[in-house]
Symmetry: C3
Subunit: 153 residues, 3 copies
């Protein structure tokens, strides 16, 4: 069991089954040492987490939705690594989109749900650059979408 | 005639003349094996395709607008390759922004217009990672903007 | 004094102190020759530049806000280069998000505030690919957020 898998176990995290896109795109592309992962939306095993921050969803629920996006990213990353998360060298960049009312300005706090997860799981290697912006609407009406770039060995 | 050009001919696709930005940026930058292409908006040879999904534009028209963005990306990519599209190794990432009313949740279906085109033209190498999100407004009032990262030989 | 520092002096530009994120992410990540810099918002030394284009902010003020984002990007880039901006080979990509009313279509003109700055400071190497899109709301209510990818020696 790798150190990362031990950390996941210790955190009580079971990675979701990585979702397969149903269109002409793929969950990730590896180019050189970089893995580009498709935007992962806040769909938990129980279903999509829908809502608009500043309108019908609390900050706390938004943070939880972003964490789900992070879990989905790590599940895809594990697949990209052929199952071996110890090959992850660095979380390079997260791009966070928050379903936002025009009066909601706490996109960074929401995306912390994904950012904190990366550091919990990967430690120093989990510290990443990121952007956090508002979006008027996201696929399926979900609350959060996050894409990512990762460096692997 | 390269295999890709043959495919374009077979599909009846004439690439548009790549648009030149009128500001202090360029259509693409090559770094290592990667080509970063600027956001291409849905401007067809006949003019801009304007509209907001979920408000004054049908899903079908949105898909067509995304396909136009894809054509503009391939035209820029061809210029980046010095005219030789057989140098394209992989479509790495598409970033799709859909001009969306707050009640429109089918951004993925819209961006399929660009994604499907990539696979029609480049086959397996056209399968890419992507993000598809809503935007409250895009340049000129167009319906779709898509940027991209590509790997070339 | 490097050529870039001379240019900054000539332009009368004093770089701001690079802001430190207060969450589990970092201002930049270096992978290979690429630097990914976190989204920089329009926060000047005097405070955040807030507003929504097409609603309560003029185009001119939006351009100035984008320039501030550009200054913040260069400040982070300098830190990434260990203080030596002459290591910058190329501005690769800027991703510009403009706080926009649904009727505002001049995102490119706004983001020119950041693009023009890159070319003023880095010359030909400052010419970059970019995207410019609207966002319904941004962190703190600021007018503009711009992230970036840079190539360094």
């Amino acid at each position: 069991m790798s150190r990362i898998e031990e950390t996941l176990a210790k955190l009580g995290i079971t990675l979701p089954t990585p979702a397969n896109p149903v269109a002409n795109y793929v969950p990730y592309v590896i180019t050189g040492n970089l893995v580009f992962i498709s935007g992962q939306i806040s769909v938990a095993p129980g279903g999509p987490i829908k809502g608009r921050l500043g309108e019908d969803m609390s900050l706390e629920d938004g943070v939880a939705a972003a964490r789900v996006c992070g879990l989905n990213l790590i599940a895809q990353l594990k697949a990209a690594c052929g199952g071996d998360l110890s090959r992850v060298k660095r979380v390079v960049k997260l791009g966070g989109f928050v379903n936002s009312a025009p009066t909601f300005f706490d996109q960074p706090k929401v995306i912390n749900g994904a950012s904190d997860l990366m550091v919990e799981v990967f430690g120093e290697a989990g510290k990443h650059s990121r952007a956090a912006v508002g979006s008027p609407s996201l696929p399926l009406g979900v609350a959060v979408e996050v894409d990512g770039v990762f460096e692997i060995a």
